[in-house]
Homo-oligomer: 136 residues x 4
């Protein structure tokens, strides 16, 4: 299993009048978390797009256990549990500063060749970076 | 089954550099859709909050089949398939102007008494409005 | 002077924990307002982009007199006070359902040829639509 | 003059289909910048709200010189040029990694006593922290 951690400070803009982080904003947190996970292995999603590969999201799910609040310094734990093929599945756990699990999430992304607009296999450079995380 | 329909015009702000609606923005569309569904039976979520009831989201899922694009006039179909109890489940379908299904979603919300911060049963006024939608 | 009116319902997502519309969200309301102003004269910003013209924003200002709140049905009045040339200036007034002026804003946009990435004059089709609004 | 610096990584969510940061998102960047400026002198806006003081925004302006783009690591320079009284004026400069000035902004915020909902003077603790920045 590949795993990684990122911290995100909750912005005032991201709260709603309930005093909680708006439920739709976790999708942004997950985006930041998976992009930073890639950066931690020396890759950037920006490079992928520049090389003609994009990764649109096919599926998102979020479970909300406890609210995140303004100015919380959240820790997002990002996991890839299986070797990516044409799709890659990310799992997320969101913790506050007290280490309380606030929620979990999942996203499925697909590798798309921007020229053909067709799905392609996980790029070799990413497969290589992740290889040591998956015991055969 | 209770069902309802709302239209939403995609804002430029809601697109991303892929030229698609950003995947996290569907949560806002679903919010608008369920609030307008309530309004269509004569209720507003605002009234619920003013009467001391809030409805935080416990669960969200989205499946993305095809991208929504800038200026698309989307039709969101909102469904409640079972009688709400302490929780209410909404199902959503998002269509573009050509009638193509772009994605589907689900949310689970819980009724919370703002004084006690405890779950409570679906308010009678909402149960009554929905009653005719559910054949016993 | 050219003027136009649009209505926007405040989303829960757009509020913050103060219980007000977050100050940065007015930029989106102004975007909707000017796009709908164009639509009311038979044009769409989408058509402009498809024909190779884009209109990035050079300047934004907002004055906030009173807060907009969740579920408010806002009326945005959009005005163009002078004939556009390479730039076009929009003025906005935001009213709530009681007709109270909540704030005012301004944006300056520039017409850019997407091929050359250089400023160009206001497209003739827009100039023509607006012509009757400006007495020589 | 008081000044401070913060870094913000542009999220994919914050871009639009022009491939630029959406013009309305700078308001969020300015929020982060001024909150981090306070944190750098040992204060948090969260503490202010918990002590019954809120700081709504009265005025915002933004000038956009060059676009910020996806994954840019922006540096926001925040300045307070005059001693705050009932209001506080923040000035912002946004730079990319090449040190190019992408835009400037200003916000005016007012100190409001949440009990009376009336403007009050800048809290002494903040005045003291800033005092050394303003030569009499």
């Amino acid at each position: 299993m590949f795993h990684s951690q990122t911290q995100i400070r909750v912005r005032y803009a991201e709260t709603d009048q309930m005093g909680y982080v708006y439920y739709g904003n976790y999708a942004q947190y997950y985006e930041v978390a998976r992009v930073e996970a890639l950066r931690q292995v020396g890759l950037t999603y920006k490079m992928f797009e520049e090389s003609g590969l994009m990764m649109p999201v096919l599926y998102l799910s979020c479970k909300y256990f406890k609210p995140a609040r303004y100015d919380d310094l959240l820790t997002i734990k990002t996991m890839i549990k299986e070797k990516p093929n044409v799709r890659v599945h990310f799992f997320y756990e969101v913790y506050n500063e007290q280490g309380i699990l606030l929620g979990t999430g999942e996203t499925t992304l697909v590798f798309i060749d921007m020229k053909t607009n067709r799905p392609v296999k996980c790029p070799q450079i990413l497969a290589d970076k992740l290889a040591s995380s998956f015991v055969e």
